[in-house]
């Protein structure tokens, strides 16, 4: 199955980013294609590259970058990003800033859209 993910909260502050990641890992293990992960609202904060999370904790930013390297589209809404001080200069690797229309496009193409947020 083709599954799209919508993530609406920032990393660490809310569990949504963790839940989305765990869901994606399990879905891929069951043979599904995670076509895209779309960051909206504070979710765009997942795509910033200046973080230094505690050594003994997970690195949420790195997870998204790694997923991107494995072929999952990591998409960041440009309008939400501009409000929240995220731009190309400070973007994690393998993520793309794109228009909000992409989300509708994903919802149309994918068999499922699963939202994680507050």
């Amino acid at each position: 199955m083709k599954i799209g993910i919508l993530l609406k909260e920032g990393p660490y502050n809310h569990q949504a980013a963790d839940s989305a990641y765990q869901f994606i890992q399990a879905a891929r293990k069951r043979g599904h294609e995670i076509e895209s992960v779309f960051f909206y609202n504070d979710g765009v904060n997942n795509a910033a590259n200046k973080a230094e999370p505690p050594q003994d904790d997970r690195n949420i930013y790195q997870r998204w970058s790694d997923l991107g390297a494995e072929g999952v589209n990591i998409l960041v809404c440009v309008a939400a990003a501009k409000r929240r001080s995220i731009n190309e200069e400070i973007l994690i690797e393998n993520a793309t800033i794109t228009g909000l229309g992409q989300l509708t496009d994903i919802a149309i193409r994918a068999d499922r859209l699963v939202t994680f947020g507050d």
């Binding site: 199955m1 599954i3 609406k8 569990q15 949504a16 839940s19 765990q22 869901f23 890992q25 399990a26 879905a27 293990k29 069951r30 599904h32 499922r112 859209l113 699963v114 939202t115 994680f116 947020g117 507050d118």
Partner: protein, 97 residues
């Protein structure tokens, strides 16, 4: 349609609102802080018990474990992320944020 609830029922209104709109037989998955809704002994037990007569109820086990909830209501089926994905295979998803 699969309904997911991730807010504590003590703080948010997702649970009471979801119940008003859900159709019979639609599964509900409690996750994140939503887990507290299915803890045995709290004031939401009756609501969950009634709901279980018409709707299958699930709760995400890693979220239960994280919160140290020892007694989950018997009417609730505990599943892991693999089970969550299986539910999504069979249903469209309605996340009550």
């Amino acid at each position: 349609m699969l309904h997911t609830i991730n807010q504590s029922p003590f703080r948010g209104d997702s649970l009471t609102s979801c119940i008003r709109f859900i159709q019979a037989d639609d599964p509900i998955l409690f996750m994140e802080d939503g887990i507290y809704a299915v803890q045995h002994g709290n004031k939401f037990n009756e609501i969950i018990s009634n709901l279980s007569k018409t709707n299958p109820i699930y709760a995400l086990s890693p979220d239960i474990k994280a919160r140290g909830i020892q007694n989950v209501l018997a009417e609730v089926k505990q599943i892991d992320y693999d089970g969550f994905v299986e539910l999504v295979e069979n249903h469209q998803v309605n996340s009550w944020l």
